[in-house]
Each structure stands twice: as C-alpha cells, then as structure tokens.
C-alpha cells in the first residue's frame, strides 16, 4: 500500500553533494582560502564610504529645512515696512471709500494696503476648485482602476496626465476665449435662475445663499471667482486623479475578492474594499491638489477679474494672493507697495501652511484609531 503520509526523507548523498558544490564555488580545495574569499577579506569594513553616504544624504535632508527657513526669513525682512505700518490690521481692516461708501481694501496710489480680498479670493477659488475637481477626480480614478476596458486605460491615463503638463498661461488663454463665454452664455444663467428662483429663495433664503445678494447674484460677466475656481479645478484634476488612482491601485486584489465573494456588486465592492482602504491616500491627494490651487497664479490672474473686492457672489470679480503679486510687483513704485506685496506673499506662505496643517489634523481625525494597512 502506498503511503501518502510519509515524508520524503533527506538522503545523505544529497547532503554531501551540496557541501561539495559550495566548496567548488568558493574556489576549490577545502581548507584553503580561495581567491574569492581572499578578495572579500581584503575589502576591509567599508565604514568610510558608508559614513560619507550617510552624511551626504543627511545634507540633502537638511537643505530642505534651510530652504524653508531662508524663504521665511527673506519674506519677513522684506515685508517689515508694511508690517510696521499696518500690523495685524493688514489682514482684516479696510477703509471706506469717501465717494461710493464701499469698503476700500487696496489702493496703491493713496497708500491703502489691506490684504483681505486676496486671501478671500484665494480661499474661495480653491474651495470652488475642490468642490468641482474632487468628485470628478475620484470618479475618474475609480473608472481607471476598476472598470476601464484595457484598451482605453493607457490613452485615458495619458490624457489625464497631459492635462497636468499644459502651462498655466495656456489654461488662462483657453479660459478667456472658451471658458468665460461658455460660463456667461450657458452655465451662469442656469445657476442664476436656480439661485434667484422665488420659491427656493423664500424657502432657503435664511442660508444667505439665495436671492440677488446670494451666491449667484449680481452682474454676469463670465469672469470672476467662479471662473477662477473652474479653471483651477481643471488644473488640479489630473493631480488628484492620478494620485488617487495610484492609491486605489495599491489596494491589494485580495480585498476586492473578499468583497466580491460576499456578493458585493461592483459599486459595493469599490465602496467597501477600494475607497474605504484608500481614503487616507485620497485625502492626501486632495491636500496636494489644494496646495497647487492655492499657489496657482497665471491662469487665475487672467480670469478672476483682478479687482480687490469681497462679495459673496461667485459671479463677482475678485483677486487672489498669487495673482496680485504677479500683476503688481513689476509696477510697484513705492517701497510700501512693494513691501505690502511681499507681505501678501508671506501671508500666502502662511495660509498654505495653515491649510496643510488643518488638512493633516483632518486626516488624523479621520484615521484616528484606524488600523494599519494590510501588506
């Protein structure tokens, strides 16, 4: 009777063969130091090169700290003049125009420099951009990783990444000639109709978002905060989409199989196994997209209207921190103007840090107590 339970026994000749093979590899006669071993022994402990390598890498890492510190110091020293003149009020105060009685934030000719509209414009356009880009990007990433037919995958990825490669000034031009008219003729009228619709205004007026002074009140020029937000959304879409796709792709297939084997439909599987596991990485990619949106200059400067005002309406003109620096720096004739612009730059730097910190706290809150990823 054949016995399946018997372990294959290790034959002694096997053992012998293996040891002689090792000797041959090492250089022949057992007991003698072979050429290979002699060479390896002559190499010493190689500690010197290791130390050099460690030092060089440490230097690269420290350079980052030095760079950030240098930028911060430079911004602070250069903006000292306006900081001494306005102090913290630079960020929240405004004058009142004697003729129109409207708030007056920024008037280089008369030496009025308050930065609130730029901060407002930057935050609002970035927020609009995130609201549009995040769902699109996640949808695109889900399509690319989970349901895209193979032949379409490469071209679609390629074109998504191509969006990121287009220079922002080209986006700006495209926005002026295509996006602005499109918004003005087709999109804005619909939004205005919805947000000034009498019944809705009556019902939801308490939110402050509806009616003529609401989110889509005022003159429809096409240019403005909404347009800036839309162009930013298109620009950050590829960043968020490609990072999200990478995160989703790194979710192990065993997770998908676990969900499918329980009778999940494709969408349920994506929600349960993919999005749930990838959520931390998705938040991370959104933060990176936000970082780009906050700092983006040219395309926004071309469509935001460049007027230092604050209005709730997304149709109104605005200004952003990056675009005011780009627009006015070369023409800043007074030292105060120049210094104020640098302080706006410093504020942009700080806002970016605050937003990043806030995002990190958010990530921490979302993931608190969350388990480690499976390997």
């Amino acid at each position: 009777m054949p016995n399946p339970l018997a372990e294959a026994s290790q034959s002694p000749t096997e053992e012998l063969k293996r040891s002689s093979a090792a000797d041959v590899l090492a250089g022949g006669v057992p007991g003698e130091v072979s050429a290979v071993r002699g060479y390896l022994l002559s190499r010493g402990n190689s500690a010197g090169s290791d130390r050099f390598f460690a030092g060089a890498m440490l230097l690269c890492a420290l350079a980052i700290f030095a760079l950030v510190a240098l930028i911060a110091v430079e911004l602070m020293t250069q903006s000292r003049l306006s900081w001494h003149a306005f102090g913290l009020s630079f960020f929240y105060k405004f004058n009142v125009d004697p003729i129109t009685h409207l708030p007056l934030f920024w008037d280089p000719v008369n030496g009025v420099f308050y930065a609130l509209p730029f901060i407002y414009g930057t935050l609002v356009t970035s927020l609009v951009a995130l609201c549009i880009a995040v769902p699109l990007a996640i949808g695109l990433a889900v399509f690319l990783t989970e349901m895209c037919p193979l032949w379409m995958r490469a071209p679609l990825s390629f074109f998504t990444e191509l969006l990121a490669a287009i220079p922002s000034v080209v986006y700006g031009l495209w926005a002026i000639f295509i996006l602005v008219p499109l918004l003005r003729e087709h999109v804005n009228p619909v939004l205005i109709a919805i947000f000034t619709e009498p019944t809705l205004t009556h019902l939801l007026g308490w939110t402050g978002l509806f009616g003529d002074n609401g989110l889509f009140g005022g003159v429809n020029l096409g240019l403005g905060l909404l347009c800036g937000g839309v162009i930013l959304a298109i620009m950050i879409l590829p960043i968020i989409a490609s990072l999200t796709r990478e995160v989703m792709r790194s979710v192990p297939n065993s997770q998908r199989e676990a969900a499918l084997a329980l009778g999940a439909t494709r969408w349920e599987m994506i929600r349960m196994a993919v999005l749930r596991n990838a959520r931390i990485g998705i938040v991370g990619s959104v933060i990176l997209g936000l970082g780009r949106a906050l700092g983006e200059t040219m395309a926004v400067a071309m469509v935001i209207g460049n007027s230092p005002e604050i209005h709730l309406s997304l149709l109104s003109m605005g200004h952003s921190m990056a675009s005011v620096i780009a627009n006015e720096f070369s023409e800043a004739t007074s030292d105060m103007h120049r210094s104020a612009l640098i302080e706006v730059g410093l504020a942009l730097f700080l806002v970016t840090i605050v937003v990043n910190a806030f995002a990190r706290i958010l990530v921490w809150a979302v993931t608190r107590g969350a388990p480690a990823r499976v390997q």
């Binding site: 339970l5 294959a8 199989e257 329980l262 349960m272 196994a273």
Partner: protein, 252 residues
C-alpha cells in the same frame, strides 16, 4: 443545510491558457470534498468557477454547466446572487483592515442591507462561535480592527465572515497554507464540525489534510480531473496510475 454541486463539461481559460478541460464532477451535499493536485493543475481555478469568481479576471473565460442545488449558476442567476449563497475563504486571510472584528464578520449582511442590530449581534456571535474564535475576541469585537488579529485568527474570522451569510456551499482555497500548524489544526477541526451543515469544497496541497477532513477527494492534473472517489479509496487503492504516483510522492 448545504446542497450538492453538479459540474458538467466545465472548461476554463486564462487568456489562451486552457486551465480546466472537460471537468465532470458531482460534489455531495453536507460533506467535505477535497481537491488535490500539484501547483498549477487547475484546482483553484475550479473552485473559483463554482462561485463565478473566475470571471472577475478580464482575460478569463468559462464554458459548461455548474448546478448548485437546482440552479444552473451560469444561466439562472447573476454572479452577485450566487456569491451570496456560496461562501469563499481564500488562501491568505483577507480581513477588511479598516473595519472592526464585528463589522468584518457582518460585512456580508450589512452589504445586503441587513440592519437589525439585535439579530446582527446574534449572527456575529454564532458565526464566531462556529469559527471557534468567539472566546478569543469577544471582549474587543468593536474595539479591535480585523487586521490586528494573528494570521490564524484572521483566517477563522474570514471563515466566520463567510458563515455569517449562511451559505449553502463553502469554498476553501488552501485555507491553511499560510498558517502555522496550530492554526492549521484549528481550521481542520472547524471544517470537520462544519461539514454536517454545509457543503464544503476544500483545495489543499497537504494530502494529510485531505485525508483528515474530507470524505471525497478529487485529484487534478494539468487541467483535468484524473480521479474522483472516496478519500479512503484515493489514498489506499487509487484506480489511476498518476494518482498513485502523486500521492506516493513520486512527483509534484
């Protein structure tokens, strides 16, 4: 209670690779059936055809009939429906790392909109007891993540997760191959107890394991089923020379 499985003229492909060729097989209800064979012989593909997981790979293709109970799973029913009734345990434990132990076990039920708290509690406890894991985890069901358990515990939790939806068939694809001997013997005990209530199909590399847990054993080789008989017959007096060569360790 489990139901029988009837396989007729089953063929499966990965791309141009013909991994299963004309498989004919009757798997009895409420028994454990083991599938053995060397790596790459098609036994994993075969169990994946029994809950239509095979076709989740875009290059995979299947022909033939598989009847589970009185349903032809490739014609009468959608893949999602059949997978609700046929549980599966994979080679490597695959808990959902972002879910607690509790949520892992009832994920199949919650997925299908089962929301009754009290009943969920009962099912989770029963499933974990059935999977011999209850005593080890009952104190931190909702506190600990499913991924924080040891490998053997994770695998038993995955079994509990499969049992929670009360399947008619339980497919196990080398459920103990990534585990240590102690966990392995726990899983085997488990299979031994569960087979009176479920139809169990277990793929294994370990012939002792097949001999210990299964009444019926099928031997696969190069995409074909060489022999299918009672486990005792296969291991003591196989009819096919190739089966004998394999179980005596002459190859594979």
């Amino acid at each position: 209670m489990g139901v029988g499985i009837e396989v007729k003229a089953l063929n499966a492909w990965y791309g141009s690779n013909h991994t299963l060729q004309d498989i004919e097989l009757n798997i009895p209800a409420n028994h454990a059936t083991a599938l053995i064979g060397p790596s790459g012989c098609g036994k994993s593909t075969f169990v994946r055809c029994l809950n239509r997981m095979h076709e989740t790979n875009p290059i995979a293709r299947v022909t033939g009939t598989v009847r589970i109970g009185d349903l032809d799973i490739y014609h009468d029913i959608s893949p999602v429906e059949i997978r609700r009734r046929v549980g599966m345990v994979f080679q490597r434990p695959n808990p959902f790392p972002t879910m607690s132990i509790y949520d892992n076990v009832c994920s199949g039920l919650k997925l299908n909109g089962f929301r009754n708290r009290r009943e969920l509690d009962e099912i989770v406890e029963r499933s974990l007891r059935n999977a011999a894991l209850w005593d080890e985890v009952k104190d931190d069901l909702k506190k600990k993540s499913g991924a924080s358990l040891s490998g053997g515990q994770q695998q038993r939790m995955c079994i509990a997760r499969a049992l929670a939806v009360d399947p008619e068939v339980l497919l196990m694809d080398e459920p103990a191959s990534a585990l240590d001997p102690v966990s392995t013997s726990k899983i085997e005990d488990l299979i031994f107890q569960l087979k009176s209530q479920y139809t169990i199909v277990i793929v294994t590399h370990n012939m002792q394991q097949a001999a210990r847990v299964a009444e019926k054993t099928g031997f696969f080789l190069n995409g074909r089923m060489v022999e299918f008989d009672s486990t005792h017959k296969i291991f003591t007096n196989p009819s096919d020379k190739r089966t004998e060569d394999y179980i005596t360790g002459r190859f594979g």
